[in-house]
C-alpha cells in the first residue's frame, strides 16, 4: 500500500495529467449527434496515431548494427504513419460528404 502512495507521489504530475485528460476526453465529446459517431471515431483513431512519435524515437535511437531494432523500428514507423495519415485522410473524406450535403441543402 505504502509503495502505491509512494508511486503516486513520485509520478504526481503525470497522474494529474492523466486524470485531467480523462475528464477532458469525456467532457469534450459529451453531446455528439449520432451521425457524427463514425467521423469522430475515425478522427480519434487518427489522433492516437501519435504513437508514431514513439516509433520515431525508437528508430532514431537504434544503433546502426542492431538489425532487429532497425527492422522493427522501421516497421513501426510505417505502421504508425499509416495510422496517422490514413486516419486523417479518411476522416476528412467522410466529413467532406457531410459538408457537401450541407451545401446542397
Amino acid at each position: 500500500m505504502s509503495s502505491v502512495f509512494n508511486w503516486i507521489h513520485e509520478h504526481q504530475a503525470m497522474i494529474y495529467i492523466v486524470v485531467l485528460m480523462i475528464f477532458v476526453g469525456i467532457e469534450v465529446i459529451g453531446s455528439v449527434p449520432s451521425v457524427l459517431h463514425t467521423p469522430l471515431m475515425s478522427g480519434a483513431n487518427a489522433i492516437h496515431g501519435v504513437v508514431i512519435i514513439g516509433a520515431i524515437i525508437v528508430m532514431g535511437k537504434a544503433e546502426t548494427d542492431n538489425y532487429l531494432a532497425l527492422a522493427l523500428g522501421f516497421l513501426a514507423v510505417v505502421l504508425g504513419t499509416l495510422n496517422v495519415v490514413g486516419g486523417f485522410v479518411v476522416t476528412d473524406r467522410m466529413l467532406e460528404m457531410f459538408s457537401k450535403k450541407k451545401k446542397s441543402s
Binding site: F23, I26, G30, A44, I53, A62, V78, M94, F98
Partner: protein, 477 residues
C-alpha cells in the same frame, strides 16, 4: 535549447488534439477540427525528428525514418482516398490495427534494449534500484498487451466487415477468454516481479497470447456490432499510445493517448445507447452465441410478391412515397440509382423522401454518407422520429435492403435480441414494398415478421438491378 522548443511544440500539439476533438463533435466545425488535429500532429512529428534531445543524445537514422514516413504516407493516402464510402469502417479498423501494432513493436524493441543493456546505462539502471526497472517493465508490458490485443482484434473486425471472416464461437468461449486474459496477466506479473533469466522467451509468449486473446475476443461478436468493437479497440490503442508516453516521459503521446482512450470509451457507450443496448450485451454477444437459436424459428407462413411493373405503377400514382434505405442498398452500391428513381418520381409529381434510421447500415451515419455521395438533397432525409410521424400519410414505403430497422419484433417480442430498439413504423403506411435478394435475415440474424404481413409485397433482386429496372418501368408508365 531545441528540447525547450520541442516541449512547447508538444504542448501546442496536445491543445490542438483537444480542440480538434471538440470541433469534431459539432457538425459545422467537424472538418476544420480534423484539420486542426492533423496540423498539431504534423508539427509534433517534425518537431520530434529535428529537435529531440535526450541528455545530449539526438536522433539518427534519418534515412530510415523518412523512408518509413514516405512509405506510410503514400500507402495511407492512397488507400484512404481509394476506399469506397461503404468500406470506411473497415478502413478505420485497419488503421486502428496499425496503431496498435506500432505500440506493440515499440514495446518489443524497448524490451530487447532492456535485456541487452551494457556499459554505463546498464549500470545506471541497476543502481537506480529494481523499483524503477519494474515500473519500466510494467509500462512496456502494458503497451505490448494492449497494443497486440488492439492489433489482432482490429484485424479480425476488418476481416468480418469485408466479409472474409464469418462469426465463430464455441461453447464456453466466454470462460476460455477470461482464462486466457488471466494467464496473460499472471505471466506478466511473474515477469515483472521475478525477472527470470528466460525473460525474453516469456515476453514473446505473452506477446503471442495477447494476439490470440485479441482474436478470440472479437471473433464471437456479431458483424453488425463491429463499429462498436472498433470504437472500443480504438480507445485501447489510445491507452497503448499513452504507455509510450510514460515510457519516454513524452507528454504529447501521453495526452493524445489518454484523450483518445477516454473519449473513445465514452463514444463506445454512446454508440451502444443509439442501438438501445449495453456494452456488455454487445461484447458477451447477444447476437453471437446465445440467440443463434432465435434465428432458427420457423417461417411465419406465406409472403406475397409484386412484379416490377406493378411496383412501378403503384409508385407512379402515389401521392407520397417514402424510401427506407438499409445496409443492402450500400452493399449493392445502388445510391445513385436510388437518387435517379427519386428524381423521376418527383418529376411525376410524387412527393418522395427518405426515412433514415440511426443505425441503418453498418456504421452511424452510414445512410447519410451514402445518400450524400449520390447528391440527394439534405431536406429529403427524415430522421426516425420525423419519419414515424409521416408514415400514416404515406402511400408507398419502398424498403431497399433494410431489414432489422423495420423489424416489428423490436416492439412486440421481448425474447428478440433487438427488443427495445426503436424502429421505423412502416406499417402505418398503405403499402410496403420490400426489396432484398432473398428471405434471408439481416445482420441480427433473425426472422422479420413484416415480410409476411398483408400490407407487404416482396420485390426480390439486387437493389441496384431492381432500381434500374424500376426506373425504366416508371419512365415508360
Amino acid at each position: 535549447m531545441e528540447i525547450n522548443i520541442l516541449s512547447f511544440i508538444y504542448l501546442l500539439a496536445s491543445v490542438t488534439f483537444i480542440v480538434g476533438l471538440k470541433m469534431l463533435s459539432h457538425p459545422t466545425t467537424a472538418r476544420k477540427g480534423n484539420a486542426v488535429a492533423a496540423a498539431g500532429m504534423t508539427i509534433a512529428i517534425f518537431g520530434t525528428i529535428f529537435l529531440y534531445n535526450d541528455q545530449g543524445e539526438t536522433l539518427g537514422n534519418y534515412g530510415w525514418i523518412f523512408g518509413g514516413l514516405a512509405i506510410g504516407t503514400i500507402l495511407g493516402t492512397l488507400s484512404a482516398k481509394r476506399v469506397k464510402m461503404t468500406a470506411m469502417p473497415e478502413m478505420v479498423s485497419l488503421f486502428n490495427g496499425m496503431g496498435g501494432a506500432c505500440a506493440a513493436l515499440i514495446s518489443i524493441v524497448e524490451f530487447d534494449h532492456l535485456m541487452h543493456l551494457d556499459g554505463m546505462s546498464g549500470l545506471l539502471m541497476v543502481l537506480a534500484g529494481s523499483a524503477a526497472v519494474q515500473g519500466f517493465l510494467l509500462i512496456i508490458l502494458l503497451g505490448l498487451i494492449i497494443g497486440s490485443v488492439s492489433f489482432a482484434g482490429s484485424m479480425v473486425a476488418w476481416g468480418k466487415l469485408n466479409g472474409s471472416l464469418r462469426d465463430f464461437s464455441f461453447r464456453g468461449q466466454q470462460a476460455f477468454n477470461i482464462g486466457l486474459l488471466l494467464l496473460i496477466l499472471g505471466l506478466a506479473t511473474y515477469l515483472i516481479v521475478a525477472l527470470p533469466s528466460n525473460a525474453l522467451l516469456l515476453f514473446y509468449i505473452i506477446f503471442g497470447l495477447s494476439i490470440l486473446y485479441g482474436i478470440f475476443f472479437v471473433f464471437p461478436i456479431g458483424g453488425a456490432d463491429m463499429p462498436v468493437v472498433i470504437s472500443l479497440l480504438n480507445s485501447f490503442t489510445g491507452v497503448a499510445a499513452a504507455c509510450g508516453g510514460f515510457l519516454y516521459d513524452n507528454k504529447v503521446m501521453l495526452t493524445g493517448g489518454i484523450l483518445v482512450g477516454a473519449a473513445g470509451t465514452l463514444l463506445t457507450i454512446l454508440m451502444c445507447k443509439a442501438m438501445n443496448r449495453s456494452l456488455t450485451n454487445v461484447l458477451i454477444g447477444a447476437f453471437g452465441g446465445n440467440t443463434a437459436t432465435a434465428s432458427a424459428g420457423p417461417s411465419q407462413g406465406a409472403y406475397k410478391e409484386i412484379s416490377l411493373s406493378d411496383a412501378a405503377v403503384v409508385m407512379s400514382y402515389a401521392n407520397k412515397v417514402m424510401i427506407v434505405p438499409g445496409y443492402g442498398l450500400a452493399v449493392a452500391q445502388a445510391q445513385h440509382a436510388c437518387h435517379e428513381l427519386e428524381k423521376i418520381l418527383s418529376a411525376k409529381g410524387v412527393e418522395v423522401s427518405y426515412a433514415i434510421h440511426p443505425v441503418a447500415g453498418r456504421m452511424p451515419g452510414h445512410m447519410n454518407v451514402l445518400l450524400a455521395e449520390a447528391d440527394v438533397s439534405y431536406e429529403k432525409l427524415l430522421e426516425m422520429e420525423q419519419a414515424n410521424e409521416e408514415f400514416s400519410t404515406t402511400d408507398v414505403v419502398l424498403i431497399l435492403g433494410a431489414n432489422d430497422v423495420v423489424n416489428p419484433a423490436a416492439k412486440s417480442d421481448p425474447a428478440s435480441p433487438i427488443y427495445g430498439m426503436p424502429i421505423l413504423d412502416v406499417e402505418l403506411a398503405k403499402h410496403v414494398i420490400v426489396n432484398k435478394r432473398s428471405m434471408k435475415p439481416g445482420y441480427a440474424g433473425i426472422e422479420n415478421d413484416l415480410f409476411f404481413r398483408p400490407k407487404t409485397s416482396m420485390l426480390f433482386g439486387d437493389a441496384k438491378k431492381v432500381l434500374q429496372d424500376l426506373i425504366s418501368e416508371v419512365k415508360n408508365s
